[in-house]
Structure formats: C-alpha cells, structure tokens
C-alpha cells in the first residue's frame, strides 16, 4: 500500500498561506449564514454535501492517514443508523444518548474486522474484501431482522412541525447546523490527530510499515486505533442519517454502492489531505444533483445517471489527478505554502 503518497508538505497540516486562510474564513462564514439565504432545496443539497464531506473525512482516517483501504464503510453508517433508530423507536431513547451505544457497536464491529485482519496478516485486496464481506453479511442479516423491519424498511415516526432538538427532531436548519458541526469537528479532530504522536505513527505505518515497526511503532495498535476512530466517526454520520431521512433499508444502508459513495469525496478531493474530502463533496454532490435536476426537468427519468456520473468522476480523477483536486488546486491558486517556503 506504500509509495502512493507524495510528501509535499501540505498534508501534515493545513499549512495555508494568507490567501488560503482568507478563503477558508470566507467559506466558513458563507456556510454559517447559508440557512438565512438559501431556500429549502438548496439547504437540503448543502446538507447532503456536508454529510458526504463528513463521512469522507471519517473514511480518510483509515485510508488517507493509515493506508488501510476499507470498501465496506457502509457497515458503520448502517450500524450507527440502525442502533440509534432502534433505541429511539423501541425504547424512546433520544439520539443524543443513543449515539453512545451506536458508536460503540460500530467501533466493536470495526475492531472485530481490524483484529481479524491485522492478527491474521490479511493485506491489500484481501483486507478490502474482508471489509466488503462484513458489510454484505450485515446487509443480508439485517434483511432478516423483523424487529428492525427487515427488508421492508425501518421507519422513524415523523411529526409535522415538530421542534425538539433534544430528540433531533426539527427543521432542516437544525439538521444543517448539526452536520456542519460534524464536518468542522471532524476537521479539527483530524488536524489534532495528524499532529499527535499517533498521527505520525499512522503516516509512518502508511508509508513504510516495516521501517515503522523496526523503529518501534506498534503496527497492530496504530492500525486498530485508526479503524476505531474511523468507524466511530462514520457511525455518527449514520445516526444523523437515520434521524434526517427517518427511513432505513438494509439494501441501501449496507450496500456496496453506499460504500463507494463514501470513498468518493476523499478520492476526488485528495486522499490523506484534511481539506480534500470536504472539497470533493462540494465538487461531486452539486454536480450530481444538477445532473439529476436537468434530466428531470427535461421530463426524463433515468435512475442510475447520477451514479454513472460518479463512476466517471472516479475514473477521470484517478487517471488525470490521482493525488486529488485539492493538492493541485491549492498549488495553482497559492493557497498553501510550498515546501521550502519557510514555516
């Protein structure tokens, strides 16, 4: 897995120039005031964008920071969503309390996969397949849990006009600010982690596992923490998703297609970068939405068009900008300090 990443200085921190910092502040202010100017549709698109940015950031902790390719991240989204929804529907436990067990269950699943994978030396494509296999087992398994609606779907009660932030029930604006907070929180956490002892271990393990181990890094511990952090963050995205959409289907929640949607933002924006997954989501989701919008106003109904476009985006990016859009854009626009330009 090593050798795919260039050390060009900007990955270790944001490393922004004055212009880059100014742009970041403008973007943050624009996002903060968006609900006051955007209409309902635009706000829902922004919420989707931020959700994909967030799960992209979560996936990035495993692939981008630690070099562990997970193609089954839908598992953690689905577990987080189902656990929190089940607690709410069956026991009346709200999401703010329910997110704790939801995260714990997802982390437990991640640790089982990680433990099996790392202890038994499952590497490369075999590790990726192990992650897919567990997501698929969950998909087929949840289809048969009648307590959670089975394949017919699991639904959360919806009251029109309810405003109960303590149970995460309320207006689109509430959900928008929650997901915005998640994105900013994940950004801050990623920044702190990358500059911690653990973060440097992750990068060492990603680049040269053997050399890292020889210099005293506990490979197993470093990789397990990466899986734990990534699955915990992803599960929070699942909790949000359950209460935002109010319906869950195993065929969607745990599907391979969902796992691919999760890896898209980081790949398009830049694997292993802090800003990449956010930028990637802001590029892809609006384009996908616009495409669907144009086709639907044209009176056509083409299911699969948006996904086809996403597939095309994957191919184009990996062929022409394998390091992602953000590193390239940041260099071109002078948003980050170049290596050797002084700290």
């Amino acid at each position: 897995m090593s050798g795919g990443f260039k050390d060009n200085g900007m990955r270790w921190g944001l490393g922004l120039t004055g212009r880059g910092a100014a742009l970041l502040v403008v973007a943050a202010v624009a996002l903060a005031v968006a609900p006051f100017v955007a209409d309902r549709y635009l706000l829902s698109v922004l919420t989707t964008v931020l959700w994909f940015a967030y799960v992209g950031q979560a996936w990035n902790v495993m692939m981008g920071f630690s070099g562990l390719l997970s193609l089954g991240h839908a598992l953690y989204v689905g577990l987080g969503a189902y656990v929190s929804a089940a607690l709410f529907v069956h026991y009346g436990i709200g999401p703010w309390a329910g997110l704790v067990p939801a995260v714990l269950v997802a982390v437990a699943a991640g640790c089982i996969i990680g433990f099996l994978g790392f202890r038994f030396g499952v590497k490369g494509v075999h590790f990726a397949l192990l992650t897919i296999a567990f997501a698929e087992v969950a998909r087929v398994g949840f289809d048969h849990i009648t307590w959670l609606g089975g394949s017919g779907g699991f639904f959360l009660p919806v009251e029109a006009g309810a405003s109960d932030p303590l149970n995460l029930r309320g207006s689109p604006t509430l959900f928008y600010y929650v997901v915005l907070a998640l994105v900013l929180g994940a950004l801050a956490l990623s920044r702190v982690l990358l500059h911690s002892r653990l973060g440097y271990q992750w990068l060492a393990v990603r680049e040269e596992p053997d050399a890292a181990e020889a210099s005293g890094v506990d490979l197993f511990h470093a990789r397990m923490t990466a899986v734990a952090v990534s699955s915990a963050l992803t599960a929070l995205g699942g909790v949000f998703q359950a209460f935002y959409f109010n319906n869950l289907f195993p065929e969607q929640a745990f599907s391979m297609g969902r796992s691919i949607e999760i890896i898209l933002p980081a790949i398009v924006g830049g694997i292993g970068t802090l800003v990449g997954p956010i930028l990637g989501a802001f590029i892809l989701t609006p384009l996908g939405e616009a495409l669907t919008f144009v086709i639907e106003t044209g009176g056509l109904d083409l299911p699969g068009l948006k996904q086809l476009f996403y597939g095309l985006a994957l191919v184009v990016i990996v062929v022409f900008r394998p390091e992602g859009v953000w590193p390239w854009l940041a260099r071109r626009l002078g948003l980050v300090r170049q290596p050797g330009e002084g700290a």
Binding site: F120, A133, V137, M256, G257, I260, L312, V318
Partner: protein, 289 residues
C-alpha cells in the same frame, strides 16, 4: 428425507457451481497474469447476460449459441480496456487500481440500469422445463447444458495455456514479467490479450447464466463478490482452484438455500470467505507467496 433428495440438490449446485467457476476463472486469469484485480468482473458477467438476452430476443438465438458472439464482443472490450486504461495502472499502487476498476464497475452497472431498466429479463428456451434422468438423479436440462458448456470452455482454456505458443508466452509473463521482456515478448500486447480472454470467459459464463437466472443489473456487484470469494477460496491465480472453488460454493449455496432460507444462502458464501481469508489466505490450491 431420502438421501437421493440431497444428492439431487448437490448435483444441481455442482452444475451451477461450474458456471460460477468459469466466471471466477476469468478473474483468476486476469489477476494471475496482469496482477490487477478486476473489480468490474460481475459487471462484465451481467453485460454477457444482457448480450445473450438481446441475441435471444431479437435473433432467437439459444444462449449456448449466443455465448461465442458475446465472448467475442467482451474480448474486444477487455482488450481495449487494458490497452487504453488499465495498462497505465499496472505499476501504480494497488488502491489506485482498485479505484479505477471500481469506477469502471460503477459506470457499467448504472449504464446497464439506464439501458435495460431494473426489471428482470430472461431468454426463453424450448427445453426450459425439461428434466434429464441420470441414474438416481433428476436434473434440469438447462442446468446440465450450462454445466457441460462451462466444462468445455474451461478445458479449452486450460489447453490454450498449456499447449499453444501464445498461452505459453502468457504464462511466461505471469511467472516473470522482466524475464519475459528480456526474451523479447511483447508484454503490453500479451496483457491486453489476457484481459480480453478474462473478459471473454466471464462473458460466456454470463451467457450460460441466463439459462439459470434472469438478468438484472443488481446482480452485478453480487457476481463480482461471488467471483472474488470463489477465487480466494480456490487460491488467487490458480486456475484449477477457481473451478474447484466454484463447485464448492455452488454446492454449499444449494444446500444452504435448501436447509436454511434461499435468501440466506449468500451469507454462507461470505462466511466461507471470511474463514478462508483468516485460516488459509492462499486458498485451497494456492501457493503461499
């Protein structure tokens, strides 16, 4: 419950498993030589299914006769794909290759969804409800034909790699790419040929599969995973292993579908995959690298 009953189910599972094995053979050939994992394998298989459905619907061709045509088209597509895109990725990090092929898989499956819709399509053959008595067993004619065709194609493939000059050259590439280059083999050409052969073989498997299952785009990711499972169970890169793995998965799926619930049968394959990955990652017939 008489033992004949179980034997019957195992025999039909074995015949289905031969078709699975043929599909996995395509994946194994591509991985064994080009060292690229074809994440779009099931998508190519379903493309083969739709090829047979179209040829059956418009030209009235039996899937067994449509298979060579489908193979030719998919061979061309596979050849072009390797020449145009995958070849540049042979030396790139693994995850880049996976992402490229996942992108291609996404394009293929959604392209088919847009072209053919989500509904199941089938080919009508006159012998679809016939049964054949073989000793104590009572087998579906469609299954028997599909299984027999899969054996013939697999045998032809083994013969090609074993006895033909080109096949020998491809094996040389697989064993030692640098050495093959030194003795003057055109590696890029042979890689394209191999990818084409892999795609053609899975196309045939798809055409045969239309005798047993209706074509739906949603089958594609399932078949990709199924091919992976079979190849890993049999041993990545081992051709006899792929066929053996296919039969094992076919039989165990059939028995699991009968003893548990049909919808749970895939769970069984994933369970087998996880156990093999952990206990014998090189697969049943694979060599430890």
């Amino acid at each position: 419950m008489p033992i004949d009953y179980y034997l019957n189910i195992a025999a039909s599972g074995l015949l289905t498993g031969l078709v699975y094995g043929l599909a996995a053979l395509g994946l194994s050939v591509i991985f064994g030589v080009v060292r690229v994992v074809n994440f779009a394998h099931g998508e190519m298989m379903v493309a083969g299914m739709y090829g047979a459905v179209l040829l059956g619907g418009y030209a009235g061709l039996d899937p067994l006769l449509a298979a060579p045509l489908v193979a030719a088209v998919l061979f061309g597509c596979g050849w072009l794909l390797q020449r145009g895109l995958v070849n540049r990725f042979v030396e790139r990090p693994e995850h880049m290759q996976f992402i490229l092929l996942l992108g291609i898989a996404t394009i293929l499956v959604n392209g088919m969804l847009m072209l053919f819709g989500p509904d199941a399509r089938n080919v009508a053959v006159p012998y679809s409800f016939d049964t054949v008595e073989v000793g104590p067993l009572l087998l579906d004619a469609v299954r028997l034909r599909a299984g027999a065709a899969a054996i013939i194609v697999a045998a032809a493939l083994f013969a090609f790699f074993r006895f033909s000059r080109t096949g020998t050259a491809i094996r040389a590439c697989a064993d030692n790419p640098l050495g093959a280059r030194v003795v003057g083999l055109n590696i890029d050409g042979l890689y394209a040929l191999t990818f084409g052969i892999g795609a053609g073989v899975v196309g045939i498997a798809g055409a045969l599969m239309t005798l047993l299952v209706d074509a739906r785009p949603q089958l594609a990711p399932e078949y990709t995973l199924l091919s992976f499972i079979i190849v890993i169970v049999g041993g990545l890169g081992s051709l006899p292993g792929a066929l053996l793995g296919g039969v094992l998965i076919g039989v165990s799926e059939a028995l699991a579908g009968f003893l548990l619930m049909p919808s749970l049968k895939s769970l069984f394959s994933y369970g087998v995959l996880i156990v093999v990955l952990l206990l014998r990652p090189q697969g049943l017939l694979g060599k430890r690298s």
